[in-house]
């Protein structure tokens, strides 16, 4: 036990050292060796080829899931070899790379949104694509979220695979009707005749003093829409893999990116890989408590984990990645091992992802719990402008440490 703890502790320490500053510009993702989990799933990315469900997806399963999570501790060798090849890039560049690869692969893939073309995207995710693919494949739209989102849906119904960018995810509230009624429901109301293979993506989350409207936590609004999948990326590796998976999915997928994570740096494989849309990612295996998180809060959690390890705790950190549906297998396996769950999210407390996750865990794994599920969410307030107020709105590492200590008493 102590050996494992030590080992994990050391790994965590390396991983965490760059995170002492939470300034996004300084954020550097952990090196590949510390994120050994992922290496196991690369190329196939978490999966092993599947028999049924002949969608276009490359990642499929043939057997009951091998919980990458649990398997990882023995997996370090594989990861270190894989890290020898690869290239280093920032998260927004990883998204761009994924998008570009898919546009190269399939001429039906196109991009539409405000300033995605000549300007290269507000966060430069589509930089250079208009030059390479032309104005029609990388379509600069007027400022009319409702109409261009609907246009993307109409294009998807008739054979294209549009990636629709919300310049800021919050702007997509103006397209809520299209996302709900047409993106989410049209496949069903048409009796399965029309598919809507769109990706809706863009920068979201609480940034740095951007004010309430530009600091939205939209996942809670979108999660009830039937027929839509939601994923949140958190590292350059999974950003690229999820982007590619979302584009290839026959389902409409909302891909959440976080404004403060665009400059994360990481080395990713040179060879092609895609991630599994429905799978959670084991960030740090542990024994004492399961911490479920996603997007930017992953880094607050890892910061807290460093302190917790120093205090003798061995937390298991899982990036749930798929916000809808939840990967109940990875989550369940972890709960069955640790018997304690802390959820850390940036979403609102009321009707947020954490609330849904709490319900799902209580429904499915109640018998395995030694303590009530605890959920740290951001406050139910419009995100304030002032730096201090904003910080108090969002969950901070110290709160996570306190919560874990409380739960593990």
């Amino acid at each position: 036990m102590s050996a494992i703890l030590q080992g994990a502790g050391a790994g965590a320490a390396t991983a965490l050292s760059p995170f002492n500053s939470i300034d996004s510009n300084n954020l550097v993702a952990p090196s590949r060796s510390s994120l050994s989990v992922r290496s196991k799933r690369y190329n196939v990315s978490g999966s092993d080829g599947t028999k049924s469900f002949g969608s276009g997806l490359i990642t499929r399963r043939s057997e009951p899931l091998i919980p990458n999570a649990v398997a990882t501790k023995t997996d370090n060798a594989a990861s270190s070899t894989s890290s020898t090849s690869g290239h280093e890039l920032l998260l927004f560049e990883a998204l761009q790379e994924g998008l570009e690869e898919e546009m190269d692969r399939d001429p039906h893939v196109c991009v539409m949104g405000e300033d995605v073309g000549h300007y290269g995207g507000s966060y430069k995710v589509t930089k250079g694509l208009a030059d390479k693919f032309g104005d029609l494949r990388v379509l600069d739209t007027p400022i009319c979220e409702n109409a261009f989102t609907g246009m993307g849906i109409g294009a998807a119904m008739t054979g294209l695979r549009p990636v629709i960018e919300g310049m800021n995810m919050g702007f997509l509230l103006l397209a809520f009707n299209q996302i709900s009624n047409n993106c989410g429901m049209l496949h069903y109301t048409s009796g399965g005749q029309f598919t809507i293979p769109v990706v809706i993506r863009g920068p979201g989350g609480v940034g740095r003093q951007l004010g309430a409207e530009h600091s939205q936590r939209l996942e809670s609004y979108f999660q009830s829409i039937p027929g839509i999948q939601m994923v949140a990326c958190s590292t350059p590796y999974n950003a690229k893999g999820l982007m590619k998976a979302a584009i290839r999915s026959e389902n409409p997928v909302i891909l959440f990116e976080h404004v403060l994570l665009y400059n994360l740096k990481e080395s990713i494989p040179d060879e092609e890989y895609i991630c599994n849309l429905e799978e959670a990612e084991m960030v740090r295996p542990g024994e004492h408590i399961t911490i479920l998180t996603y997007s930017r809060m992953r880094y607050h959690v890892m910061q807290a984990a460093k302190t917790l390890v120093n205090k003798g705790y061995d937390p298991e950190v899982i990036d749930i990645r798929s916000l809808k549906p939840f990967d109940l297998h990875t989550i369940g396996n972890s709960v069955k091992k640790t018997h304690r769950v802390l959820i850390v999210e940036e979403c609102m407390r009321t009707g947020g992802i954490g609330a849904s996750l709490t319900a799902a865990i209580n429904e499915n794994f109640h018998d395995y719990l030694d303590a009530p599920v605890m959920c740290l969410s951001s406050q139910d307030v419009p995100t304030p402008y002032a730096g201090t107020l904003e910080e108090w709105t969002v969950v901070q590492p110290a709160q996570i440490v306190t919560a874990v200590e409380h739960l593990c008493q």
Binding site: S52, R61, L139, M157, T158, N182, S190, Q193, F194, L277
Partner: protein, 430 residues
Amino acid sequence: MATAFSPTKLTATVPLHGSQENRLLLPIRLASPSSFLGSTRSLTINSSRRLNHAANAARRSPIVGVQEIVKEKKATNSLLITKEEGLELYEDMILGRSFEDMCAQMYYRGKMFGFVHLYNGQEAVSTGFIKLLTKTDSVVSTYRDHVHALSKGVSARAVMSELFGKVTGCCRGQGGSMHMFSKEHNMLGGFAFIGEGIPVATGAAFTSKYKREVLKQNCEDVTVAFFGDGTCNNGQFYECLNMAALYKLPIIFVVENNLWAIGMSHLRSTSDPEIWKKGPAFGMPGVHVDGMDVLKVRQVAKEAVTRARRGEGPTLVECETYRFRGHSLADPDELRDAAEKAKYAARDPITALKKYLVENKLANEGELKSIEKKIDELVEEAVEFADASPQPGRSQLLENVFADPKGFGIGPDGRYRCEDPKFTEGTAQV
């Protein structure tokens, strides 16, 4: 072409056609100030300024339509349609009317539920446009969509069964009255909220352009978007006019101006009631046509569709029409003036076409009667078919939520939840 779109020219006449010699549309004036546009009742309530604007000032401005042309062509004795075309139009309009009348019966008999919006009175618009389209052209409709689907070729059986909520319906009973889809016929749907279909139609037109210019396919498909006068006060309408003109998309925006948005008179809701004028404002032709005359609608439609196919961009067509029934079957229709209703009833588009066909010896009474009989039987048969069709089974409940059922996610056992037999049975909790 570009010069033809210059604002000065547009205020005078809008050449719907690209070539100069075949300039179809001349400025015309409607005979009487009160002929179209709105209930007499609203006019009397309105202030004199508004009344002047609506009834006189606006009417005095050039209206682009085809009435003159129609007369001209008559004068030269060349008929607007062939016998075959005439009978096809007649049959389609009769089908629309009979089908909707049957819907009303079935609704009151408790065979269908929910909101059912009937198309009676507006048949000239659906028939006038859709009968010109090919199978690969797309149609986007509203909640008043049964007849658009029928005109596009969806069988009466499939539409009636959908209304009955049966598994044989065109959407397997999952759509209902306001959500008629047929991928086979490129019927991209009935859209139940105001305006939301217009962006989708714009997207379909974008695909046509994309196929042609990016994928280098030989695609001449056009999209026709139908919507009402009430929708023209919705932002999506303007947003899409802008994008369609900007990208020169092969789309025709067809306003079925039946003068009423449920209980809101067009004149009470719209600052400038002449919707067609919004076309030139966005750099596309705007055309005003008598929506109670299928031949005039067809003339305009032909030009607009040809223009779109040639890659010359979108057209806005305002068809002035009238619905002969309430907004939906739940609407007692007590608000609209009896005189107004009577006025339009006298201009029934089906009666008008019948008259034209007979007067021009394109068809005799007997031929038309036999079409009516054939359609009666077809609609009766559709009802019998729908009635006899099975209700959807439980197993259908969870199908079609996701195109790829992996969207339901991974269960605690590590298998995709959709692999659970309960998903096939439709009994799983999702």
